[in-house]
């Protein structure tokens, strides 16, 4: 009886058996990598807007406080997107003929809101409240990144649950004094840049974080229904 298979089958079968295991491992790493990449998370990808509003210019160079536009951040779950009226407080006086601002003037004249493209969005099954976070010493830049350096705004963090619970499990690693919450140029305490809280200088986050957590009554809320209500 002739042989059913050519001797090369030995090699082929070995390669395919070990190869499929290897392929499985490579595939899972590839999936993980795609899931982490900006392609999926949209982190660090600037979002195009009808009016190319620059946070770098307004919040960074001009130093306008976050709350000048995002008025409800301290009192509501939603930080608030400013009405056109807020833009016009300045732009009725300066850059009144700028072509770039034409949609803003049109919106003011017609009363039809500007449509901004959302940068940071949480799914509807997550309850999130800005005011409590701000109140407990979570700074704007902790989640939104270096907004004062963004010409067009981008998402600085994934906003995935794993990222949320990182802070919820250990808030002392991220909180800052309330006075610094809206400071867009805030840096966590370090040997050369101490941060003052209640008259005491702190040179590292951990000791300050522990004090803040005690002072503000920050709880590590990690039950499911804290956010999934």
């Amino acid at each position: 009886m002739p042989q059913v298979f050519h001797p090369s089958t030995n090699t082929i079968s070995r390669v395919s058996i070990y190869g499929s295991f290897l392929a499985l491992i490579v595939l899972s790493f590839a999936l993980y990598w795609v899931g982490e990449s900006p392609y999926y998370t949209e982190v660090n990808v600037p979002v195009d807007q009808t009016v190319p509003f620059s946070h770098r210019h307004h919040a960074g160079e001009l130093g306008i406080d976050c709350r000048y536009c995002h008025t409800s951040v301290e009192t509501s779950s939603f930080a608030g997107i400013p009405p056109t009226k807020t833009c016009m407080t300045c732009h009725s006086q300066i850059w009144t003929n700028s072509e770039m601002l034409e949609p803003v003037r049109l919106s003011y004249a017609t009363g039809k809101s500007l449509v901004w493209n959302r940068v940071n969005a949480l799914p509807d099954f997550v309850y999130f409240n800005h005011s409590i976070h701000v109140h407990k010493g979570v700074g704007c830049t902790t989640c939104h990144g270096p907004v004062a350096d963004m010409p067009l705004t981008w998402k600085a963090n994934t906003l995935l649950m794993g990222w949320c619970v990182e802070c919820h499990r250990a808030p002392e690693k991220y909180v800052r004094p309330r006075a610094e919450v809206f400071n867009a140029r805030y840096e966590p305490p370090s040997t050369f840049h101490p941060v003052t809280f209640r008259g005491r200088k702190y040179y590292e986050q951990e000791s300050m974080g522990r004090e803040l957590v005690k002072a503000y009554g920050v709880q590590s809320l990690t039950t499911c229904y804290t956010c999934h209500r």
């Binding site: 059913v4 995935l160 794993g162 619970v165 990182e166």
Partner: protein, 452 residues
Amino acid sequence: MSAEPRAPLIEPGHTFGSVTDKISAIVLGKGTRGGWWLGFAISFSLLMVLNVSIGYLLIRGVGIWGINVPVAWGYAITNFVWWIGIGHAGTLISAILLLLRQKWRTSINRFAEAMTLFAVACAGLFPLMHLGRPWLFYWLLPYPNVMGTWPQFRSPLVWDVFAVSTYATVSLLFWYVGLMPDLATLRDRARTRVTQVVYGILSMGWRGSAVHWHRYETASLLLAGLATPLVVSVHSVVSFDFAAGIIPGWHSTIFPPYFVAGAIYSGFAMVLTLAIPLRKFYGLEDFVTMRHLDNMAKVMLATGLIVAYGYMMEAFMAFYSTGIPDRYMLVNRATGPYAPVYWLLITCNIILPQMLWSRKVRQSVPMLFFLSLVVQTGMWLERFIIVVTSLHRDFLPSSWGMFYPTAWDWATFAGTVGLFLTLFFLFIRYLPMIAIFEMRGLVPESQEKAKS
């Protein structure tokens, strides 16, 4: 048994060649018999019913079933427990009886193992379908996820995932390793190029050298060692799904042993249900002898008595605990709205199987077939009673309710029977349903017995 010498495990007159011929001819013989086509067509139609049921379930959600608060588990969990239990006999036969050197397992272990695999496949579908969003099933697995969480390791439902997936893996390996020498036999006997190549690939280069046999023996012994604890552990873990809950009728320490016994009980019933038509249809009475059927009937009787003891203990503990909800659970089972189901269960699981004490009944093939169906029905009803009657009336009368199955409940169940039978029909057509090489090992013994 009496002092008379035991009947041989193979009818006398067989040689190495005749055993191989007989079994491999079923697979390699020309043409397919009409009876096979008929059975396959019926099974395949049922499989299509499953397809439709799952499709509609994915579109509409679990609301198409009769489940609701308070009975949120319904048929899906009943069927899951029933199917996974059926698989246990296969593992018991292939692993424990191998370690105990019970030679009578030889002619039934292959298809019993196949039965295990297919039953586990059917069982696995139900919890997945019951998830509501089955496409997120991988959330059950511990993997580095973006949610920064792990599954709830304190929940028996997560233990289930591990128990069942381990069970499926070990069963598949055990079955496949055992198949390899026979696949090589089929390869060597195949007449067409296609069958040669297919069985050649499947037999993974088996040449039957001494080294191969040595490794084979080691591997199957190791796998038997791995599978043995699974016989006990898998259904114990399944029983924890109930026992770890505080519902009256669930919260009981008797559950693990009584579930395992029930699993083997229904599993052996299923082996009988499959073996009896098979040996008739393919003329395998020489290999699956009356002695095999008799042994299986005895195992059924023994495990059935353990199950009966479980029921008794359940009743006794309900009485002895003096807990009002526990006592009420028992009264409700016997006299409540599901009482007919309960009494049917007692009839099927405890009363009718007592006939197996009689040697005459154990020697009657039609009676054994009938009783095997009765026991399977009984065991299904048992799971129904545990799931439904416990949930429908718990501590608070204000939250009592009823469960009525819908047509989709029935269709899904019938569909998995179709899946099981379809796989089984394909198995008996394309793979040797009896381990050829193990049967050859029994030939010398039977020849000697025939001489004496």
